[in-house]
């Protein structure tokens, strides 16, 4: 390593499938693998955690099964594709099955559990999600949550304190926050406090949009806490890659944000 061209990216926030609200944002069939290969070639995005619109918009279970089939394909493995698993509501009825389900899906190539408590209408508070957090914590298994899901009014009223409490109690469980569509990430006093007061909270980078925000957060809390995500197809993949490469950070920090931090988290999963 030593050249910008050598920095490999690992994208944790890539959406595929049918987005029923927009054909433009839908990516299906052969186009998915073509897109992953194109990004690998032109942007050096060597690994991707893929999230399925079907899991988000329709049925988490169905989406997880579809994603599992997809990433088991040879071409997808070659393209560095792994999956993000969506929390399924069945487990609130049958929590005992959660641990086995998580193990099985890890073996099938899933590396992060995404939770959408507001959209999918289930709790994420410790008092009601504790059983699942305990399992995840025991495996060091990362959880990803979007700020849109923590925004109780849809107008930048983020429940930062709940994330802080969860991180405090389950400190082996990496918590990755992605900004979703929220502009809240510009309001970074909360972010600074959250990073200062926890050891296992990470921020995905796609909408760390504020002036010098990536450099400032890296300077305040270390580049260890930032993880690259493209938010494809809502953002142009190149923007996030270019922002990291054109930051004033040194090449070691850029590499950490680009891929080393998430690789480290994934390698730490004990399952």
């Amino acid at each position: 390593m030593g050249l910008e061209q050598d920095i490999e990216f690992y994208d944790i926030n890539f959406w595929f499938g049918e987005n029923y609200l927009s054909e433009k944002y839908s990516l299906t069939g052969k186009s998915i693998i073509d897109m992953l290969l194109k990004r690998k070639e032109s942007l050096n995005i060597g690994f991707t955690l893929v999230s399925n619109f079907l899991s988000y918009f329709y049925d988490q279970k169905l989406g997880n099964i579809q994603t599992s089939k997809l990433i088991s394909g040879k071409e997808f493995k070659k393209a560095g594709a792994f999956g993000t698993l969506f929390m399924e509501p069945d487990f609130f009825y049958n929590p005992d099955r959660f641990e086995e389900w998580l193990k099985r899906n890890y073996e099938d190539g899933f590396r992060i559990l995404r939770i959408f408590p507001k959209t999918h209408k289930y709790p994420f508070e410790i008092s009601m999600f504790n059983y699942f957090y305990e399992v995840l914590n025991s495996f060091n298994f990362p959880v990803m949550i979007s700020l849109d899901e923590l925004d109780i009014t849809g107008n930048k009223n983020i429940e930062w304190d709940k994330i802080s409490d969860i991180a405090d109690v389950y400190d082996n469980m990496p918590i990755i926050i992605d900004g979703g569509e929220s502009k809240e990430l510009m309001y970074n006093c909360y972010i600074l406090s959250l990073l200062n007061n926890t050891s296992n909270v990470y921020f995905e980078t796609h909408n760390l949009l504020g002036f010098n925000q990536i450099e400032d957060l890296a300077s305040a809390n270390g580049s260890d806490r930032l993880i690259f995500g493209s938010c494809h197809p809502f953002f142009n993949d190149m923007l996030g890659v270019s922002r990291v490469l054109n930051s004033s950070l040194d090449i070691k920090d850029k590499s950490k944000i680009a891929s080393l931090n998430i690789k480290n988290i994934i390698e730490n999963i004990i399952i």
């Binding site: 910008e4 510009m186 309001y187 925000q213 400032d216 190149m238 490469l245």
Partner: protein
């Protein structure tokens, strides 16, 4: 291309950032937000001229104006400024604009109906519109989807400006953020098709893939301006975005700087 340095890619273009802010950010904290840091970054990545408003001019009646002129003095031919009209202090604000609009490096007036909680068609704006049209001063306004969760965005509904641009066909009005979100980003194109005196910028977090290409297709590139909204959004995102667009070279040049050069009558 992402592996090339932005400053190297930018060398072939005249780049004018026509929408940025200086001064303290109300309600926000960004450690790097100093005038010096902002100007240094702009210059480093190849911006040749920048047009700013001062946050203090939006949040106070008089304080920001002093800061703006101090900034303009410091940065010579690099920095230009917008005065701000505040409809809640209609008389004082208009008097201040009358006094200052011909001063060196003042090139336009910024309004922000959502910030000031006043519709642009409110009576309090009437004399301002007359004045801007009569004196041919470009006006930059915040614009956003009125259905956004933030209720104050209703004041900046792009359609709220329609009667004004219809009434003043020579008034050059820029809808900042091109309507901001969702379908409004596309509805603004329809307004631009109807009214040739309407301009847009994509300042802020407007990075919808294919959006600028569609604007070019429907309304041409001559009324699209390059703006960052610094420090709210880091200009490196915007520059990478536009430089990477798969559009004709002439369109890229228009957007990055030539349109602003013409609209604000700047000299190189």
């Amino acid at each position: 291309m992402p592996f090339d340095k932005l400053e190297d890619l930018a060398k072939n273009y005249l780049i004018i950032d026509s929408h940025l802010h200086l001064g303290a950010l109300p309600y926000l904290y960004m450690p790097s937000n100093t005038e010096e840091n902002i100007v240094n970054l702009l210059k480093k990545i190849g911006v040749k001229k920048a047009i700013c408003s001062n946050h203090g001019s939006l949040s106070t009646v008089n304080y920001g104006l002093g800061e703006l002129f101090e900034s303009l003095d410091r940065y010579g031919d690099f920095l230009y400024g917008y005065l701000v009209f505040n409809p809640n202090f209609e008389n004082d604000s208009l008097k201040s604009i009358e006094k200052n609009f011909k001063k060196n490096h003042i090139v336009g007036i910024k309004i922000h109906p959502s910030w000031h909680l006043c519709y642009p068609h409110d009576k309090k704006y009437e004399r301002f519109w007359d004045f801007a049209a009569k004196n041919e001063i470009p006006v930059l306004t915040h614009s956003w989807d009125p259905e956004a969760p933030n209720k104050s965005q209703k004041f900046s509904d792009p359609y709220g400006f329609e009667n004004i641009i219809k009434k003043y066909p020579d008034l050059r009005l820029t809808l900042a953020h091109a309507g901001g979100r969702g379908k409004m980003l596309y509805n603004v194109m329809s307004l631009m098709e109807k009214y040739q005196n309407l301009y847009v910028d994509f300042a802020g977090d407007i990075f919808v893939p294919g959006l600028i290409e569609e604007y070019i297709k429907r309304v041409g590139s001559e009324r699209l301006l390059f703006g960052s909204d610094m420090p709210w959004v880091d200009i490196r995102f915007h520059l990478a975005h536009v430089l990477n667009l798969d559009i004709a070279e002439d369109d890229k040049k228009n957007i990055l700087g030539l349109n602003a050069l013409k609209l604000f009558d700047l000299k190189i």
